[in-house]
Subunit: 437 residues, 2 copies
């Protein structure tokens, strides 16, 4: 057995404590798998003396000097589970430049400035692994990075935020509105006191950027992602979806496309969308995550599991720790960031989507013609139309229209013009449609 591989752990919250526990419980197995034992060289925390329950670790290992710990010569691998942009960025760049390998769960940092980390890893010669940053325990990034690299991925569609999936699943199951479902999620611990990052789609957008970068061998950052949250999804929207045999999910979508000049592009977006109940993603309930991948040769793949929580995230972190520890013992590093394709990101207006639009209209001759004319003027082709009496008993009618695929800007302009029509009493619901219908 070789001499130990030594870890610096940055952060000791829910995930960090679980990493410590697993390192302790599984130490013999981990050593057998690596060919050397793992040892904790130190744990950087914000303040010492906090009660850490029965954490099986020598209290002398704790320090508030993260940078000092990282720089120690006896540290081989830095594990970061603090989160946030700073000071994590400075620490990890420092660690990577110094030749340490880094395992991180920090999706925000990777989406904000992944390039800086990858560059520092190349400079220092260590590994940068981040399986835990997207979809928690689900082995997803490594398959994208390594298993599917003999294939050509065309599209990634994911449910990557557990909080919003819990809320939307509850709205589907009970007919509750957003506010009521959010309240339940908060009570049950699925939503944080300030749920903005989740419900406004920031968390999912960061993950979308990471997935798109890996799937399309291009640098995609959080700022490249079109982002809409779920705060405006109403009980009426969900009822419309159910009436169509669908549900509503917050999807992150990264897709290859071709622009007007024939260049390959990638479009990356996060927004709520209707998907048919028969789609594999529709049955992903509660706080589970799942990512649906389409590739030329492999066809359709789906990865499903827990997206968050201390133990699942720690499992992913430890999987990465084993990999980088093995690499260090072998004196190698894993493949660098693969960004050779450098596909340009397409603006949301050019992304190809489909809309489901529900209108309250006056029930009189010429209405359908006028509405259809708006779609035609924007070159949007209609797939299905359903007309029925409005529930208001006022002699109005409801028109439900599902379009074919069209540029998002054309669809948005269509909706905008419909809102201005005299005969349209209100636009009751507008939702994008994904996953066939």
């Amino acid at each position: 057995m070789k001499s130990p591989v030594r870890l610096a752990l940055l952060g000791c919250g829910t995930v960090g404590a679980e990493v410590v526990r697993l390192l302790n419980e599984q130490s013999a197995d981990l050593a057998a798998r690596i060919g050397a034992p793992l040892e904790i060289a130190g744990i950087a925390v914000r303040r010492l003396g906090r009660d850490r329950g029965d954490l099986p670790v020598d209290p002398a290992l704790f320090t508030t000097d993260a940078l000092g710990l990282i720089k120690r010569d006896d540290v081989d691998v830095v594990v970061e589970v603090v989160g946030g942009i700073e000071p994590a960025r400075g620490w990890l760049v420092e660690a990577l430049r110094a030749g340490k390998s880094v395992v991180t769960a920090n999706k925000a940092l990777l989406a904000e400035d992944g390039g800086a980390l990858h560059d520092a890893a190349v400079e220092g010669g260590g590994d940068l692994y981040y399986e835990a940053s997207v979809a928690g325990a689900i082995p997803l990034l490594r398959p994208l990075r390594e298993s599917l690299h003999g294939d050509r991925i065309t599209r990634v569609t994911g449910i990557v935020n557990g909080t919003t999936n819990f809320i939307l699943s509850a709205m589907h199951a009970t007919g509750a509105g957003f506010a009521e479902a959010l309240e339940e999620a908060t009570e049950l611990g699925y939503a944080e006191a300030d749920p903005t990052a989740d419900v406004e789609g920031f968390d999912a957008a960061a993950k979308a950027a990471i997935l798109a970068s890996l799937a399309f061998h291009s640098r995609v950052g959080a700022a490249d992602v079109h982002r809409e949250g779920i705060t405006e999804v109403t009980a009426a929207d969900m009822a419309s979806a159910k009436a169509m045999g669908c549900t509503i999910k917050l999807l992150c979508i990264a897709a290859r496309g071709t622009d007007a000049q024939g260049r390959e592009t990638v479009s990356v977006r996060v927004h709520p969308a209707m998907i048919p109940l028969t789609h594999p993603l529709a049955s992903v309930g509660d706080a589970f995550n799942a990512v649906f991948v389409e590739a030329d040769a492999a066809g359709q793949l789906m990865f499903y599991g827990r997206g968050a929580g201390g133990a699942p995230t720690a499992s992913a972190v430890l999987g990465d720790v084993v990999a980088v520890a093995r690499n260090r013992l072998a004196g190698v590093r894993s493949a660098s960031e693969s960004a050779y394709a450098a596909l340009p990101v397409r603006p949301m207006g050019e992304a190809l989507t489909r809309y489901h639009i529900s209108l309250d209209v006056a029930d009189r001759p010429g209405v359908l013609e006028a509405v259809a004319g708006v779609f035609a003027r924007h070159d949007v082709s209609i797939a299905t139309v359903r007309q029925g009496p409005s529930g208001g008993g006022n002699g109005d009618a409801v028109l439900v229209i599902v379009t074919h695929v069209a540029p998002d800007a054309a669809l948005a302009a269509t909706v905008s013009e419909l809102r201005g029509l005299d005969i349209v009493r209100s636009v009751a619901s507008v939702l994008r449609v994904e996953g066939g219908l």
Copy 2:
């Protein structure tokens, strides 16, 4: 760009031809991902001069001398897509001993004699990869081998044979019997002319052995797997399952357990089983595959995708080719076989299972007591009983019993004794139950 990595392709059937096509189509991308181009050094086939359509490859590359091709100094990687035990075993052992890296889709050989291949790989210093051997395009083995090795897998439950899944899905959907559903599968190309390997569970058993070996770090061979096929699943069984809110799937199950002496064991089995329609595996339809993994920290994971077919299998093969090519350029090899745990395989009789038993019984006093007494004598605890009139209009009754978990031998002995009871007219259906209920 470094000098090319050169491949010997053994076999040029459906999968081999697709590998050639993908190598050709994706050559620039593959070279970028590897850091060197891939080149085909030769293709070993059974006979030359066969019409290979428009395969984009120099006809001079074909040879019938597989061994000669393998031994050539300019071959770095051997890709085997021939299948079967011999001559593939001899070729691959030869290749590995000579220091070549091997990528194979040969589940039968790995399940029969994986140890010999792993040993030869260690001896020669090359890699042995076989992602395509289980669940086709689904990146599954690499995650088991690499991503989850910081975790402790407790159970793997999979649908790993597309032919039987197609047949059982059809039986569920239409109420057809086995023979009729098999006929449909054959007509549509989902079943081979001789479907024995699929419908008798041999194919699934080989995959179960491979999965168990990886999940539990132990050498498990095909002979260690308890195997039952689906030929005796009847339309009545499926109707019973549906009445319980279940369906029937051919499952491969590999589970950790503890024997009477308190030693850790593994049980590996393939058999049809009832699973609740709410279980993620229940909705895996047609010829799709899915593998459900349970681990201590990660919780529940599922991997879903196409399990067979030329392109999906070729995608998995190419993913492996990229990995081994990269390793060769870096002058390293991947982790060896991990068999340190060497868990003993538990006999099927000791495996813990649950049974669903449907009995036609005489409808008179004392019958339930007598039946219940048989279960009690074998120390089998009953979870639910449902009694109703038999459909025969003969005054008989139907008893449907679902047990708690018990050793399989006790359950089998219970059924055997029930068959001998005077008051039991017939045992209409016996099915194992998995996935909670």
